[in-house]
């Protein structure tokens, strides 16, 4: 296959036309590290590959990284990393058998990289209570690491959406096929509404949202925010600020053609043009037999086949995430 063109980081301008990104720098005083969530709605599109590879690459660059398997019902990130099922898992933390989440960190054999494995035994841990989930989120947000990378489950379950939404980098993985694109659109709609609903209930505007739902049809955020701002200007303004942080970053996996590479740009353009939601295009990962070869060998792609095309694409995506952080730090 001919060398596919690679995309550069695309940062579409915000709704007001400026290219300024929200700055998370102000939150760094209370937040030691950055959170990257990797979701996408559909199973098998490569979420675990992307999460594991980002973790390995960021750790190789000297960052302290913890990979968290948030697929509470189907944990297998340890397999992607080529290690045996750990004895200590998230269920011990969820069920209060340990005080701090750091106590269930397990080494991965890779310097700077730890793993929090998903629950493997306790079926009840697959659906933690609200209190358990909030405790988990608090601990995730205050871990002493540079990066926490959350590998999410497929689907649009509420817990999955909440883990996606709490991240600084909301990575959405899709593949160039109709079912993956469909699930990605559905995932973004569900996540957006969940975020909007949470923010609205803070301002006591949840009832307005229901009115704006128009019989279950997903309506554009600008339209909804305008309606809310009409009812309560200050609340509307604050809601707008909150929602500006909803900005997924797209990764298109298994690209085979130049058109596949462009899919991320197309999806981002469709969302911006029709719903006014901005997305970043983080990059594309080439379809590569080395991915399954590495999987068969039960070794992470970045270690087993570091010179493969897919591995190089994933390394570039890690660079893009660093670049976005640098932009947020400097406030542009």
């Amino acid at each position: 296959m001919a060398e596919l063109p690679q995309l550069r980081l695309v940062v579409p301008p915000t709704a007001d036309g400026s290219a300024t990104r929200r700055s998370s720098a102000t939150r760094r005083g209370t937040r030691p590290g950055r959170i990257v969530s990797v979701g996408g709605g559909k199973g098998g599109v490569g979420k675990s590959l992307v999460a594991a590879s980002l973790g390995i690459e960021l750790a190789r660059r000297g960052c302290r990284v913890v990979l968290v398997d948030c697929d509470l019902g189907g944990a297998n990130l340890h397999t992607s990393l080529g290690i045996d099922p750990p004895r200590r898992t998230l269920s011990e933390f969820v069920n209060h058998r340990v005080e701090r989440i750091e106590e269930v960190f397990v080494p991965t054999g890779i310097r700077n990289l730890s793993l929090v494995s998903g629950a493997l035994d306790h079926l009840d841990a697959a659906s933690p209570s609200h209190g358990q989930k909030m405790r988990l989120i608090r601990h995730l947000q205050s871990m002493e690491t540079d990066f926490a990378i959350l590998d999410l489950a497929a689907g649009t379950q509420k817990n999955t959406l909440d883990f996606f939404l709490l991240a600084d980098h909301k990575v959405l993985v899709l593949a160039p096929e109709h079912s993956a694109v469909e699930n990605a659109h559905r995932f973004v709609k569900a996540a957006f509404w969940r975020r909007l609903r949470a923010a609205s209930s803070i301002f006591g505007l949840a009832h307005l949202l229901d009115e704006c739902l128009d019989g279950g049809r997903f309506r554009g955020p600008t339209e909804v925010l305008e309606a809310i701002q009409g009812a309560d200007e200050e609340a509307g303004r604050q809601l707008r600020e909150q929602m500006a942080a909803f900005r997924p970053g797209l990764v298109v996996n298994q690209v085979r053609t130049p058109e596949d590479v462009e899919l991320g740009l197309g999806v981002a353009a469709a969302w911006r043009r029709h719903f006014g939601i901005d997305m970043d295009v983080l990059g594309a990962v080439e379809y590569d037999d080395d991915v399954w070869r590495a999987a068969r060998e039960r070794r992470p792609l970045l270690l087993a086949r570091s010179e493969s095309r897919a591995a190089r694409s994933l390394v570039r995506i890690a660079s893009v995430i660093r670049e976005l952080d640098a932009m947020a730090e400097t406030g542009r």
């Binding site: 160039p176 096929e177 109709h178 694109v181 469909e182 659109h185 559905r186 128009d214 049809r217 554009g220 955020p221 600008t222 339209e223 305008e226 009409g230 899919l263 197309g266 999806v267 353009a269 469709a270 969302w271 043009r273 029709h274 719903f275 006014g276």
Partner: protein
């Protein structure tokens, strides 16, 4: 984001008012690639009826903006650029400057549609008869609306005559009504909602519900 019927042709194609015909053509091709049938990127992003209305608007935007005469007439009716941007959604705003009665359809600007004085009172239910009145006030035949919307003539006639038993199921019917309302420069969402309520009411006893 404004609803589809509120977006100007320039906004639909994402070109500035000063765009050259070449720029309009390129923007049209981009929009078609992005939202047209067969696009992977926007697959399932829009509801089928909404997607259909968007396709129509993209086609109309091209035909109007690439026809110099039609474009001038259209520009005259558009508010100044600053006013248009961020203007709150205004439901049911028929053409303000009726011109060129009897204008042909495709390739003819929306502003050239007559019938600006067609204002049913607020809250009037959108019956088939009212849709017919709106069409006639704009000087359009069923054939012309059909050419513009790609909706079969028999469907348009059945919508106006409220022959619900001869119309397709609700999900398709809603798309048809949206397209007709859009072509008549009515508030498409409101017309569809009102009409579909009537249709549901009329169909319910027939189905024995």
């Amino acid at each position: 984001m404004k609803s589809l019927s509120e977006r100007s042709f320039y906004e639909i194609l994402e070109v500035p008012r000063s765009a050259t015909p070449e720029e309009v053509q390129r923007a049209y091709e981009r929009a078609r690639a992005l939202f047209g049938p067969g696009s992977l990127a926007s697959y399932s992003l829009l509801a089928p009826d909404e997607a259909e209305v968007l396709h129509l608007r993209i086609e109309e935007a091209r035909s109007v903006l690439l026809d110099p005469q039609a474009r001038v007439a259209y520009d005259e009716r558009l508010p100044a650029e600053g006013e248009w941007k961020g203007r709150p959604a205004a439901p049911f705003q028929p053409a303000k400057t009726p011109v060129a009665p009897g204008a042909q359809f495709l390739g003819t600007p929306w502003p050239a549609i007559p019938g600006a004085d067609f204002h049913p009172p607020e809250g009037t239910p959108w019956t088939g008869d009212l849709i017919r009145q709106a069409r006639e006030a704009r000087g359009l035949s069923i054939l012309q609306v059909s050419e513009r919307t790609k909706v079969q003539r028999s469907h348009i006639a059945n919508v106006e005559a409220e022959r619900f038993d001869q119309l397709p199921p609700a999900v398709y019917l809603r798309g048809i009504v949206l397209s007709i309302a859009c072509a008549l420069r009515l508030d498409d969402q409101r017309v569809a909602r009102s009409y579909m309520e009537r249709a549901a009411g009329a169909r319910a006893p027939a189905k024995g519900r």
